[in-house]
Symmetry: C2
């Protein structure tokens, strides 16, 4: 985005902490920060959000117009021609509202969304930048943990907990860890495919009759048929965040590890990938990074061409060879919907994904970024302004 | 080891699940498994123990001679000229006992230990193979988590839990994550430097006055001055494993996250690296892998030269440039002792390590292995026999 904007002679302001920072006018000129191609390249190799993020939800203008008035007056004051907002479903909600308000008010400012979320739950695009890199880390780590779990000559079950509140895209990607003659993980629990403790325990027991170590990938949002989360405590009161999502889940792996240890009398272990799966840039997918870079550039191009209320997106033409084209989609058509794993990509027993899922995900993890290593460690870009 | 043995015309049997598997005669000829240099290279790139491991402790022969009689009769039956045993302190205890027994009985079999443990707690060697790679993963991941923790404009504290029951070598290695103008982690808690919740909370509070996000690396063995583990529950009954170690710790990060959240009213998060830190081969240190390969070869050479009751070890001649030499050490001098982080390498406030520690650890994480990627994922070697 920065490169494309600069190449077209536009100045670029960075929005610190998203829309929330914008209310405090936390804007910074990115030119001194990204003063050479080396800095831009380092930015590509730096994990997590460089500019920061927020969890603020814009009210609808019918409810409260004041935030809109403040933001649009700031945009005018800063001579903003276009606002580009990077993120997942929540960010698309924000940019969609700003775009609609701008259109209603006859503003000439263009609003463009830029898809980027490891959750991969956005409509209108084959997949979202961020997903491929998270999938690569998850599958690699599950394969490594699978090796580790078979070190002792001891029956054991490992539960690996993977992000995904309502969708199993990330948990499903662990299926890529299998090699031809080595299946790993043995089972995958996705939010789309509810299950009971009884069914799971019975299946794990069966598997332990055939092998000594069983690996189960568990989505943090794995559920029972009654909709309750497969976590302790069994859903007494569910807390919701500003976007109406259930807040900070955790515990599916620990809960299941204790259930299975109790019922089957085997050694169990719970491993949580926690935030590592969204920030392990050292194992990013080159395909993912290239697509993120391209989509960002296309977002800038759309804005420069006068488009508003759109996002650039990816359409897949073929899995093998992997061929895609870039398209533009109206934000209004995709905001506030959550794309789930298709049910026919989930194994019949509900505890794994099909070859179709693997064919979908495999191209997205291809290629490696060799990070810039300094002193033996990947070097990240540091911000000169508001560094910490 | 395999290469050196083969180059010297020796056959190599693999011991499945260490000494425990040996009692069940789980031995396999490694030649069909490692039939070409490609397999040997893949073995270098495969995480965790290829042959498996155990937690069995040999009794002293004075207590029970029967295990020794069984093992030595097996060795004779299989025409074993030398037994090489790879591992940390516990494995050195095993090979030391076998060696002493063999000597007493006038056996011609040579017994050589091969140091390999991420714990880095072995005497007689500057460091142990395994440590550098674990340190590289830990420091990289702590740096990435540090970036992730500052994404929101929100005061928060992240506790990252790192292995190390009695020594802070691994927790201390997180100090490598710092860049010139970006300190990360802010605090490190090591087992060697006891601390109270009060002191820690006060220091975290101070830091939150200067920055919005604080990262604390916590050894799983972090302790209070009374020796109790900084984990919930506060040490009622400590379980010991066969080697007399306190069993399966976990919980320091979760415990401290809850203490600090309660007392300071800030958002906290606990991240456990769990087994990933010992099996994340995709981020291995090239220096570490090269030294592991060399030490293994030297162990074989020592055995071929008729040495017994020894281990090959590393002596450091200089930090910068990093220069070492390989030496041979008597196992009896180093077995059953635990090398701790020197107290003068711990910061005066007890919550970090000094530049001396960093100078020690930095060379060990240098260089990267580019794994063999197949289908976007690192490819691990599969065993033909007793695969799972």
């Amino acid at each position: 985005m920065y490169d494309t904007a600069r190449a077209n002679g536009a100045g670029v302001l960075g929005m610190r902490y998203g829309i929330e920072g914008l209310f405090e006018e936390k804007l910074l000129d990115l030119e001194p920060e990204l003063s050479s191609p080396v800095e831009v390249q380092q930015l590509r190799q730096t994990p997590s959000s460089y500019l920061g993020s927020c969890r603020y939800k814009l009210p609808r203008p019918e409810e409260n117009e004041e935030p809109y008035e403040r933001l649009f007056s700031l945009f005018e004051r800063c001579h903003v021609a276009a606002v580009l907002y990077i993120g997942g479903n929540d960010s698309m909600d924000t940019i969609s509202k700003l775009s609609a308000y701008g259109e209603r008010e006859g503003s000439s400012i263009r609003f463009v969304g830029v898809p980027k979320t490891i959750d991969n739950d956005l409509y209108g695009t084959d997949h979202t930048p961020g997903y491929g890199s998270a999938a690569k880390f998850i599958a690699t780590s599950v394969a490594e943990i699978g090796r580790d779990s078979s070190v002792y000559d001891l029956r054991n079950v490992t539960f690996v907990e993977i992000m995904g509140r309502n969708t199993g895209w990330l948990a499903g990607s662990s299926a890529l860890a299998s090699q031809e003659n080595a299946i790993c993980p043995d089972l995958i629990l996705l939010p789309e495919s509810p299950i009971t403790e009884d069914v799971l325990t019975a299946r794990v027991g069966e598997l332990l009759g055939q092998m000594k170590s069983v690996v189960v990938a568990v989505s943090e949002g794995a559920r029972r048929p009654d909709g309750s989360l497969m976590a302790e405590p069994p859903t007494s009161a569910i807390k919701l965040d500003a976007f109406g999502h259930e807040a900070a889940l955790s515990g599916a792996s620990r809960y299941l590890a204790s259930v299975v240890a109790d019922r089957l009398g085997v050694k169990t272990r719970a491993v949580e990938f926690s935030t590592l799966q969204r920030c392990a840039n050292h194992l990013a997918s080159a395909t993912d990074l290239d697509e993120a870079y391209a989509l960002g550039g296309l977002a800038v191009r759309a804005a420069l061409a006068g488009q508003s209320g759109v996002i650039p997106a990816i359409r897949r033409l073929s899995d093998q060879p992997y061929v895609t084209e870039y398209i533009t989609v109206n934000i209004a058509d995709i905001a506030n919907r959550e794309r789930k794993v298709p049910l026919d990509w989930i194994r019949e027993d509900g505890m794994g994904v099909t070859d179709d899922f693997v064919r979908y995900a495999r191209p997205l993890v291809q290629g490696e970024l060799v990070p810039l290593f300094v002193g033996g460690l990947p070097r990240h870009i540091q911000m000169l302004t508001w560094g910490r």
